[in-house]
């Protein structure tokens, strides 16, 4: 609830704000630059902070057969025994959300049977969300490059291959909006997900919804002056920023939402973008018995030595015909205190 209010306030702030004198410079130039700087520095800072902590133990989660005897087929991707295996595992994880693909749903059937059925929707919509977001972002390069690279044009062409309406409908925008809606609905409709959701889970959803929504609004409905926008964005890229008149309030809302997302990013769970690459249970080779892993802070500890052990039990050991290092000296040492 707070999150929704926050996003609405942000909307009004930008929409009304640009109408004030200097508002366009503030929301169009100062805030976006600032946001980008915070994003980049914040992101780097967070990754460096993670990297500063060592990985003392080799703790991959193994999801398949280990490499042991030569005649047993090992699962080199789900239980990587080589760096190549890890690379493939990570690619599958990052690009196709491999682990989420395994998702099951636990249900009680026939009153006493627990079943675990494959649950593909979370995976499907998460994948859609991330790919759609990426595609939209990639298409936006056309606003920041001159001439526009061929690959960007190609993606835009593929994205709009349905050729519905004018301007042509981009699938990614619709997919993004649909996926965000799904992810939001499951947060409020599935009881356990609702229970675990925090304000900081809803906020980015609303924000991204707002970004996609204002984007679609500009493209298909208010028909923003795209030439003006491009002139403006290019002025930002070439570090020669100047305001173009008459682009319209919705554009500034869009830009402001994106700026807020950029600032929010490094301080929030959105950092999973960077974190996934550093997750020790996924990015390590399972070869800890074949190759020694070194812990940089390994320190000596107090242990109960064999000698101390034999000293305590020597008499009993000799009696039981167990080999000992030292035979008992003539003056038998006192029986150590029995514990408990």
């Amino acid at each position: 609830m707070y999150s929704l209010i926050a996003v609405i306030i942000l909307f009004l702030l930008a929409y009304v704000g640009v109408k004030f004198p200097g508002g366009e410079v503030f929301f169009g130039i100062i805030i976006p630059y600032l946001a980008l700087i915070i994003f980049i520095l914040g992101f780097i800072n967070r990754v460096i902070d993670w990297a500063r902590s060592p990985v003392p133990f080799r703790i991959p989660t193994t999801c398949g057969q280990q490499k042991s005897l030569p005649w047993i087929k090992s699962a080199n991707i789900d239980n990587p025994s080589t760096t190549g295996g890890v690379v493939v595992r990570m690619i599958l994880e990052v690009v196709f959300l491999r682990s989420l693909f395994r998702n099951t749903k636990c249900e009680l059937k026939e009153s006493d049977k627990i079943s675990y059925e494959w649950e593909k929707w979370l995976w499907l919509f998460s994948l859609t969300f991330h790919w759609a977001f990426f595609t939209v972002l990639f298409r936006h390069l056309r606003l920041f490059t001159e001439p526009v690279p061929a690959c960007v044009q190609l993606v835009a062409k593929l994205d709009g291959f349905l050729q519905i309406g004018l301007p042509g409908l981009m699938l990614s925008g619709v997919a993004l909006l649909a996926a965000v809606t799904f992810l939001f609905l499951r947060r409020i409709l599935i009881p356990q997900v609702k229970y675990i959701s925090l304000g900081s889970d809803y906020f980015p959803l609303f924000l991204i919804f707002g970004i996609a929504f204002t984007g679609i609004l500009m493209r298909y409905f208010t028909k923003v002056d795209i030439v003006g926008v491009k002139e403006f964005t290019m002025s930002l890229v070439t570090l020669n920023p100047h305001v173009i008149k008459g682009i319209g309030g919705v554009f500034y809302v869009h830009l402001f939402f994106v700026s807020v997302l950029l600032v929010y990013f490094p301080f929030s769970k959105l950092m999973h973008l960077g974190g996934i690459f550093m997750s020790p249970t996924r990015n390590m080779v399972n070869n800890s018995r074949a190759k020694r892993h070194v812990n940089p802070w390994n320190y000596p500890v107090k242990i109960h030595t064999y000698d101390a052990y034999e000293d305590e039990f020597r008499e009993k050991m000799i009696e039981a015909n167990l080999p000992v290092e030292k035979m008992i000296a003539p003056e038998t040492p006192e029986e150590p205190e029995e514990k408990e």
Binding site: W50, A51, S53, P56, F57, I59, T61, G64, Q65, Q66, K67, S68, L69, I72, S74, D78, N79, S81, S99, L100, R102, N103, C106, D112, I114, Y116, L122, S126, Q192, V193, Y195, I196, L198, G199, S268, M271, H272, G275, S279, P280, T281, R282, N286, S288, R289, A290, R292, V294, N295, K302, H304, Y306, Y309, F313, K316, M317, A320, L322, P323, K339
Partner: protein, 527 residues
């Protein structure tokens, strides 16, 4: 997170006995009771936890990353056996991690500090909260309702491992003397006598002599295991549960018969140790340091006895420690040699640094090379299924070796449903030191998903024997089967090997290792 913690009988385990805590020199030993208001905490406990938390963030990238990147997608929620069995929302893995995460956000993140300075009510939005006595109690209650099985970690899109969170949480609790007795006392025992049960050397040997008599009665063959013998080629370490707790003892009998067979046929040279008489490591459930202190005995004993390499018995978390921690903590084991099977000549390349081989790997290799004479019909009264132990499946990947052994020693083997085995296996419900008596309700709740899958094959195929490679499993699943699936018993893999193995010079066997009549030998009382 707002619901106050309600510590319930049947779920919580008793507080650590101060004598045990003191024996190993852990801080703040004292008599305290979880259901009393006052936990007799040291005055500066908040400071201790906060300092400890900082230290661990700086030492373990896993903790730091896992604190930051969870998106609360909820994929882990219904993967936890304790959540499935209890329905308590706080048993969802994500919330177990949020126990620590909420305090982490409040104390260690920029966002938490900024939001916290605006006002207390805003903290809730980002899920931050201050560590107070209530939160501490919630930590304790729920961190001892996790068996560190890592099933949630398989499904997490970032591989967030709740076991890692629980391990850190328990380390922090131990800094202020808040362990449970079923962990603390085994740790103290293990430190002193070499094993969790506190078996002294002479009693250890007595017990094995007793098993030897059993073997002689059943097979007519006298086996003579050796102990603490210098110059042996191989050291054998197994969990002490195999020596003292049924039905693990039959697994121990199985090892003894196998070693005897190999000795007679091929001159196999192995010794047991009373000093390193524990494979399991309850230190792992206390702290990384305690784990290292207990584990050190294996290499120390191997060095003292001058063996070439080590074989480890059937145990779950013991193998997680050996596979993922031992060499790093207590290695390099440069005084040992790379393991080579003296019988088949197979080099165990996968263990060339740690120099310790799992007995299922060892036996599978023997069977593959036709080195064992087996009579499978002696297991014909068993319809067997196999329970993957959490740690060997998700912290190692030992999936096929035990299956290969089982399929070669018995005729009737049936798998449980795919989503309940291998890397998706369910915990027995009592792992990571939760196998006490007073928390039986928790254990039966946690054991439900596993038991339910066994029930399925019990009804469909008439399965009557649940096999496993873990000592805690053998103890815990026995109770769980008795409660949920009467008619199914529990066995170790090497008990079935012992049943099938034809010892040189043995008499005609009338019974299996449990002294129950073999099929066709039921003379008077047919089942």
């Amino acid at each position: 997170m707002d619901t106050p913690v309600d510590i319930q009988k049947g779920i919580y385990s008793y507080a650590a006995n101060p004598k045990s805590v003191e024996y190993v020199g852990l801080p703040y030993p004292r008599q305290w009771n979880p259901i009393e208001e006052d936990w007799q905490l040291p005055e500066n406990w908040k400071e201790i936890i906060s300092k400890g938390f900082r230290e661990r963030l700086d030492r373990f990238r896993s903790v730091k990353v896992f604190m930051d990147i969870c998106v609360r997608c909820g994929a882990c929620a219904d993967k936890c056996h304790f959540f499935i069995g209890s329905g308590d929302p706080k048993n969802m893995p994500v919330l177990r991690a949020e126990l620590l995460r909420s305090v982490y956000r409040n104390d260690f993140t920029t966002a938490g500090k900024i939001i916290g300075s605006i006002g207390k009510n805003f903290k809730k939005i980002i899920g931050a909260r201050e560590l107070d006595l209530q939160v501490l109690k919630e930590w304790w209650y729920y961190l001892f309702q996790c068996s560190e099985c890592r099933r949630c970690s398989v499904f997490c899109p970032y591989g967030i491992d709740t076991a890692e969170i629980t391990i850190m949480g328990r380390e922090l609790l131990n800094l202020i003397g808040l362990n449970i007795d079923w962990i603390a006392t085994p740790v103290a025992n293990c430190y002193r006598t070499g094993n969790h049960l506190g078996i002294q050397p002479h009693a250890y040997k007595d017990m094995m002599d007793f098993f030897a008599d059993d073997i002689e009665e059943i097979t007519g063959v006298k086996v003579e295991p050796s102990f603490n013998r210098k110059g042996a080629e191989i050291l054998f370490v197994t969990p002490s549960g195999d020596i003292f707790a049924d039905p693990g003892t039959y697994t121990c009998v199985g090892y003894m018969m196998l070693f005897h067979y190999l000795q007679e046929k091929y001159g196999f040279d192995i010794t047991w140790s009373t000093y390193a008489s524990e494979g399991g490591n309850f230190g792992f459930f206390t702290s990384h340091e305690m784990m290292k202190r207990l584990n050190a005995k294996m290499y120390a004993e191997a060095k003292r006895l001058g063996v070439k390499w080590i074989i480890g018995g059937e145990c779950g978390h013991m193998w997680r420690v050996i596979h993922q921690y031992m060499d790093t903590m207590n290695g390099p084991a440069d005084f040992l040699e790379e393991p080579v099977s003296p019988i088949t000549g197979t080099k165990f390349e996968n263990a060339k640094s740690t120099k310790m081989v799992h007995i299922a790997e060892f036996t599978a290799d023997l069977i593959k090379h036709n080195k064992l004479e087996l009579d499978l019909s002696r297991n014909d009264h068993l319809k067997v299924t196999y329970h993957d132990s959490c740690n060997t499946s998700r912290g190692m990947g030992l999936l096929e070796e035990p299956r290969y052994v089982i399929k070669n020693v018995c005729n009737n083997f049936y798998e449980m449903p795919a989503n309940t085995i291998r890397e998706q296996t369910f915990c027995c419900g009592s792992g990571s030191g939760l196998n006490a008596g007073e928390n039986m309700e928790l254990r039966m709740q946690g054991g439900l998903p596993r038991a339910n899958a066994v029930k399925y094959v019990h009804e469909k195929h008439g399965v009557n024997m649940l096999s496993c490679v873990c000592a805690i499993d053998r103890a815990a699943l026995s109770s769980s089967m008795e409660y949920w699936v009467p008619g199914v018993e529990v066995t170790g893999v090497h008990e079935m090997v012992g049943n099938a193995l034809i010892l040189p010079g043995e008499q005609k066997r009338m019974t299996d290792l449990r002294s129950e009549p073999l099929p066709g030998m039921e003379d008077d009382d047919a089942e």
